[in-house]
Amino acid sequence: MTEPLSKSQVLEILQSRASTYSFLSRVYREELTPALLAELVQQMAGEATDEAESEGYRTLREYAAKFNLQDLESEATDLAAEYAALFLNMSEHPVFPFESVYTSPERLLMQEARDQVVAEYREEGLDRTAEFREPEDHLAIELEFMAYLCERAAEAVEAGDRVAAAKYLEKQRNFLQKHLLVWLPEFCQDLQRAAGKGFYKGVAHITEEYLATEDETIAELLGAL
């Protein structure tokens, strides 16, 4: 049995998780701006580690390696076109980033899953912002919610409030099991197929790989409280 995590380790993990969820949310939410894309590419093209790399990271590094930083506008436009083709219905085989589509019998928007996640958000006093006019079970929102819960948990840990921290972690586990893990594996498979190669395929893999680790991470965090 390994030693339980220290407070600073717990905070570090929570921080990392919050960043990860934020990153993924951002990627699914809308197209990457040229500036953001350039930064990401530069970071990914950085030193490759010796450690066994996930398929997601490998795919992203390959994308970064082929990326032409001199022609940023054009690369960004290409990626934006792919985003539109995948997530905005501008192709024959789009992928729908909505939980309802994956869990309702007729693959419609705004079904039971949406009602359920809205209830979860509202319990935390949260609602969708006015500018984003798509259903609340959009992947970007669900991921942002997880980031939010990580931040609340970190605050609680900082303040020494074990009960609150545990509450947020339990909420995360619940949300993961009742929602994210119910549909994302299939969604990620669809995205990998539709995205072919490149950036969004890498993201699909990372999403899948990351979520697969979450259950255990949360358990570990809870054990450390």
Binding site: T2, L36, S54, T77, A81, S91, E92, D127, E216
Partner: protein, 791 residues
């Protein structure tokens, strides 16, 4: 355990690092925010609101059956007919057709385009990026300004389907202000037969109000159990039948109402003109006409009598596939059973090579038998004054603002130019002016004749699947300088767009054409508000808003209500003294009781009905259009109905028939969809999952094609793959199908089918040569010859 933790930690660290970058780039924008009312909203979640609005699933009219939509926590959950309005058979009716009930699936389909898009990459590559409405509108404005400057305003052509108020009211106004006459009609529905009737007998009535007085109703090429399920017609016919009316149905296929007819006459598709002329031949030849009416109200009867001598039942029989004695008896019956009314439809007057003549001949049958505007005859409609007078912007399209040479600049008049210049004759409501023919306009992109369109737009129309010759259309759209389209889905034409604009759904806007939402009844007039039921998704907007915005940006704000949709709607209500807010706050609508008793129904209003016709009489010999230039301006229009028959037909092209022995046609309207719309909705698609061809079982078996099996259907112009549907109620040499199969249905695992050769769009089969179009209305024949084989 340790290894896993290490891998996981590294993994987390890496993505965490990326996350920092992402966060920096984002500047803290979030999708979730603190909402003090969030908890209160949660409590309200169970409440169901009922919001009255309109469905327009069956027609492009945008205001149709009044409905009540149930909304729970901002989500549509159910729909039903609004009993206050007077839908279908009247007040109290809650009926709705199958399409209306798919409202929830329609609203929550994940396939919608929700954001403006612009093309990146080559045309036809299908590569688009999201842009803002601002960029989209600026681009469109600059392209329109450029086109006007370089090539003249007529170089901008707007493609429409048939009738749709956002276009007929505000788009027309915009086009007139901009200076282009090229409002482009599909020439496939209603307009052509409306024109034919108007120039022959001065009016085109679809009133069923007097059917209970009829002794004989002839349904000729009309498909109301498909096109107008809840609009009152099937119901009125059923009542008339129950009351003992004799009912004859002249249609190629036995649709449900035909199965209830006293006599079903399976006419060969595209030969209605021949039948109508033969009927005139018998009625006149045997002296069965109404001599008084002919003497007092018909011009040129003697010439018509001479003209139809050649069109005997024996001549018509091999053309129509109807035995000569059946034709003769039908003629006698139509002449001697009084009163008699003929209900016509798209099948007879809108998609035939000689559709104008067919419709004119049919009107003449009614005329010479004394059945125009008589009780139980072709009743010209009630003159029930509306208790809610409205301002009708369909009339006020600012036609006078078009440049004086605009009519001369019409690229491809969809009906004769000289007639277009006579709106008082053609009637400004229901048949508009000026107008070009969409198909010919698209051809002009490729030929450059008479000039090249430079900017084309399409709204509420799937031009690539629904016209003819999809290949030509795709080439034209690919070639044209600038093409923008407003739609809800990735329709086939979107492949070639430069800009795509997201249209919101029917339930996401409260923008209205009030005069169509008015239900005028004997006891008074009712008006209801079209209400927004749910918020528009993404950045979709209404078709109305688009035109007002565009008008304002092009400098026409003063004439386009300042770009303010509320002002536009309020002005419609002004004459009635109703405030928009009051209407919004009246969930049960506003009903104004009739203050004066209705006068008894008027009939035989001939002086009024025929006043715009030469000599003020029915044109048996048509001096209004006869001898005048046709729509193409390559020939002249006939003085009397003339038979042509379909471009390819058993009797018309017998040599071709040896190779292509079967007649092929399509139903146009179908009760489970609105042409190509709604074919992707699961509850409707599961009732017609595959592109079907209704085929007589004997014929199918001859070719070894089983029920439900894929078959190849090939005409001289192209070929398609369809699924055979055994159907006893169709002659062995006729096939009947449907257009519009490009939508996929993921829920059922069904694809959308290609619109090109080898796909399933029947429009590839028909003749696209303009020489074979109707010369008066440019309508394009939906009949051809095919050969079939098992696939």
């Amino acid at each position: 355990m340790t290894d896993l933790r290490m891998t996981r930690r590294t993994f987390l660290k890496a993505t965490g690092a990326l996350g920092t970058v992402a966060a920096v780039g984002v500047g803290g924008r979030r999708l979730l925010q603190s909402q003090p009312l969030a908890k209160a909203l949660a409590a309200q979640a169970e409440e169901v609101k009922i919001i009255p609005t309109y469905c327009h699933g069956c027609a492009a009219t945008a205001v149709n059956c009044a409905v009540l939509v149930h909304v729970k926590d901002g989500k549509m959950v159910r729909i039903e007919g609004n009993p206050d309005a007077g839908n279908n058979w009247g007040v109290g009716s809650t009926s709705l057709c199958a399409k209306a009930h798919t409202a929830v699936q329609y609203e929550y389909s994940p396939n919608r385009i929700l954001y403006p898009m612009k093309r990146t990459g080559a045309k036809g590559e299908g590569k688009f990026v999201r842009i803002t409405w601002e960029e989209a509108m600026s681009t469109i404005v600059s392209k329109l300004k450029e086109a006007k400057e370089k090539y003249g305003p007529e170089s901008y052509c707007h493609l429409v389907s048939e009738f749709y108020p956002p276009r007929d009211q505000v788009a027309r106004r915009f086009l007139n202000l901009y200076g282009t006459p090229n409002y482009c009609e599909c020439c496939l529905c209603h307009g052509p037969r409306y024109l034919a009737a108007t120039v022959t007998i001065g009016f085109c009535s679809e009133s069923t109000d007097d059917w209970n007085n009829s002794k004989l109703i002839v349904n000729w090429g009309s498909n109301c159990e498909n096109s107008a399920v809840n609009q009152g017609q099937p119901h009125a016919l059923l009542n008339a039948i129950a009351n003992g009316v004799k009912y004859v149905d002249i249609r190629p296929m036995m649709d449900p109402l035909a199965s209830k007819a006293d006599q079903w006459i399976p006419i060969r598709p595209g030969t209605d003109c021949a039948l109508a002329l033969a009927i005139l031949n018998v009625i006149i030849g045997e002296g069965l006409y109404d001599a008084d009416f002919v003497r007092d109200w018909c011009y040129g009867f003697d010439r018509l009598a001479e003209h139809v001598k050649q069109y005997t039942p024996e001549w018509a029989a091999p053309i129509t596939g109807i035995p000569a004695d059946v034709i003769a008896n039908l003629a006698r019956e139509m002449a001697t059973t009084k009163p008699m009314v003929i209900k016509t439809g798209n099948g007879v007057g809108d998609q035939q090579r000689d559709g104008t003549s067919a419709m004119a001949a049919i009107c003449l049958i009614e005329a010479i038998t004394g059945n125009l505007d008589v009780p139980g005859g072709n009743y010209a409609g009630d003159n029930m004054p509306s208790m809610i007078p409205l301002r009708n912007f369909m009339v006020e399209t600012l036609l006078d603002r078009l440049p004086s040479d605009a009519y001369d600049k019409l690229l491809a008049p969809s009906y004769p130019r000289f007639l277009q210049k006579m709106p008082q004759v053609i009637s400004p409501v229901g048949f508009h002016t000026p107008q070009s023919a969409s198909y010919k306009v698209l051809e002009a992109v490729l030929t450059g004749k008479p000039y090249t369109p430079r900017v084309i737009s399409a709204q509420q129309t799937s031009v690539l699947s629904q016209l003819r010759n999809p290949k030509m259309v795709s080439e034209a759209l690919k070639k044209v300088d600038f093409f923008f389209v407003m739609d809800q889905y990735w329709s086939p034409a979107v492949d070639y767009a430069d800009i795509v604009l997201p249209a919101c759904s029917l339930y996401e806007h409260g923008h209205n054409s009030f005069f169509l939402g008015v239900k005028n009844r004997p006891d008074g007039t009712w008006i209801g508000m079209r209400n927004k039921v749910v918020e528009p998704m993404g950045e979709s907007r209404s078709d109305w808003e688009f035109w007002l915005d565009l008008g304002a940006r092009m400098g026409f704000a003063a004439d386009m209500w300042g770009g303010d949709i509320e002002r536009f709607m309020q002005e419609q209500l002004e004459p009635a003294g109703i405030k928009l807010e009051d209407l919004r706050n009246s969930p049960r609508g506003i009903f104004v009781k009739r203050t004066e008793p209705l006068p008894p129904r008027e009939y035989r209003r001939y002086a009024q009905l025929f006043k715009n016709l030469p000599h003020g009489k029915v044109q048996c010999y048509n001096e209004l259009i006869g001898g005048k230039p046709d729509a193409d301006e390559t020939g002249t229009l006939p003085y009397m109905p003339e038979y042509k028959g379909p471009p390819e037909g058993i009797a018309q092209t017998p040599d071709l028939a040896k190779e292509y022995p079967l007649i092929f046609s399509d139903v146009h309207a179908y009760r489970l969809d609105q042409h190509s719309s709604y074919t992707g909705l699961p509850y409707l698609r599961e009732l017609q999952p595959y592109p079907w061809v209704k085929i007589n079982p004997e014929t199918a078996k001859k070719y070894g094609i089983g029920n439900g099996e894929w078959m190849k259907v090939e005409s001289p112009h192209g070929w398609v793959k369809m699924v055979a549907e055994y159907f006893e109620g169709i002659p062995p040499d006729v096939l009947m199908s449907k257009r519009g199969w490009w939508q996929k249905c993921d829920e059922l695992g069904l694809p959308g089918y290609s619109c090109l050769d080898g796909g399933s769009e029947v429009n590839v089969l028909y003749n696209g040569d303009r020489e074979k179009f109707d010369k008066c209305s440019c309508q394009m024949a939906k009949q051809t010859l095919v050969r079939i084989s098992k696939l």
